[in-house]
Amino acid sequence: MKSFFRMSYPYILWIAIFIVAPMIMLLLYAVSRPGNNVLTLQFTLQNFTDFFSDPTYMRVLGSSLLIAFATTALCLLIGYPAALFIAHLPERIQTLMVLLLTLPMWINTLLKTYAWQGILDFAPDLTSWIKVMIGMVYDFLPFMIIQIHTAIAKLDRELITAAHDLGANRVKTFLKVTLPLSVPGIISGITLVFLPAVSSFVIPKLLGGGDYYLIGNLIETCFITWGNWNFGSAISLIMALIIIASMWFTKKIDRNAEEA
């Protein structure tokens, strides 16, 4: 059976070329300046200090984070009750609801965003912040609902019956049993929404009418307009680090919740 491992060799070569090498290149570009070549390569943190010392870039970073936080919070607020209500439906209808919620996820995000452009034209008075939020929540809500629903559906019904038998009312049962036990679902929902939301720039660009310039747009400008690969790589790296940091953070919360 050990010989089966040889079947993995081609893909190991593939990831070396197409996953590992690009990441190393990104790192090399990020810590060097334009005009360097392999022979005269000099490492510098200039790109990073440039980014963090410029208030314009900090504002871009700030609005990316703000949009991601707001999207995550709204998805949780709207999605939790939905997941809870779905979990209380008869099993066959639950499956149908999950299917109905996931079906639109198969249609191109850009086409759906384009549809929202048309729909939001019916309400021209909405601020671009509201328009962007509608588009973002629309795109990410199903992820949140599915994750939380899975956690609640797995929950042992006997626990709820026991809580009722022991005299807890609905509210108390929810707060003491259902909510704590659905925390893993909440956390994976938050991860699935927040992480891609930080880097999303297409929806804000199409629905915000140019009012939102985010990290993703900045990277695009660096590479496409300025041709400054080094600075663009540095910003990409910063974004990857933000993602890694927030993942580490959510994992830690998850562990604490499980211990408690």
């Binding site: 893909y11 990831i15 452009q117 609902i145 880097s199």
Partner: protein, 267 residues
């Protein structure tokens, strides 16, 4: 409490109906306005098929559909085959090697799309490869395969190693053990891996945007770069909605029908 229950039940149904309405509003809008006889996107002036006609006369749009399908099909096939083979190989490897490879494999899943995209672009630029359809396909394979492996791995862990061993002890070649014993057991996971790969590739914008070359646009890139509002996009979306619905209904029915068949055989 008994008096409260109907209220909560009613509230929850209305809440879920609202969520569903929100979910299907853009799709309903796309379908409805694809039949609009007028040019406006906020007033429906009558029924017509002019946008469908226009779509089939729009070469750039048809090309974007063609490229989307070519890339998605090739990427899905390669990612599924490579992913399945690799996952089986990894399940038989040493633990340390396996976890190192799986962690690396996870990178494109964890990384924001734009970071993966920039990395690939830097690779192609540095290697002096002209960007076009080929580089786009290579990139799609790269970000689809990890999902296939992630979908199949848990299923492989549940398998009993002894069955394949027994098959080989009984004279099956390793290849036979693979195709007759292991594959049939993980087939559903392979199928859902392929579905995920296809939908990821079909939906992708960011990675395609940075790794394809001039004149090679997929549907997402076409919509993004559109200068003016174009109602044929609604017609295109409607076609996609129809195709996706059919595929998903089939994908959900096939296991159901198969399940019934095996049930009958069991009896």
């Amino acid at each position: 409490m008994n008096r409260k229950k109907p209220f909560l039940a009613r509230f929850s149904s209305w809440y879920l109906i609202l969520i569903l309405l929100f979910t299907y509003l853009p799709i309903g809008y796309l379908v409805l306005f694809s039949f609009n006889s007028g040019k406006m996107r906020t007033s429906f002036q009558g029924f017509s098929l002019r946008w469908y006609e226009k779509m089939f006369g729009d070469r750039t749009m048809l090309e974007s559909i063609k490229y989307t399908i070519i890339v998605a099909v090739i990427a899905t096939v390669v990612a599924t085959v490579v992913g399945t083979i690799t996952a089986i190989g990894l399940s038989k490897s040493k633990r340390l090697i396996r976890s190192i490879i799986l962690e690396t494999n996870n990178l494109p899943v964890m990384n924001p799309d734009i970071v993966t995209a920039i990395g690939m672009m830097l690779l192609f630029l540095t290697a002096n490869v002209k960007q076009g359809l080929v580089t786009m396909i290579l990139s799609h394979i790269t970000f689809c395969t990890p999902y296939v492996i992630l979908t199949i791995m848990p299923k492989l862990r549940q398998l009993d190693d002894n069955v394949a061993e027994a098959a080989m002890d009984l004279g099956a070649t390793p290849f036979q053990a693979l195709t007759k014993v292991i594959l049939p057991q993980i087939y559903p996971a392979v199928f859902s891996g392929a579905l995920i790969a296809f939908s990821m590739s079909f939906d992708d914008f960011v990675i395609s945007f940075f790794t394809s070359g001039e004149g090679i646009n997929n549907i997402s890139m076409y919509v993004y770069s559109m200068k003016r509002y174009n109602l044929s996009v609604n017609a295109l979306s409607t076609l996609i909605v129809v195709v996706v619905t059919i595929i998903l209904i089939l994908a959900n029915l096939i296991p159901y029908i198969k399940g019934k068949k095996t049930q009958k055989e069991d009896i």
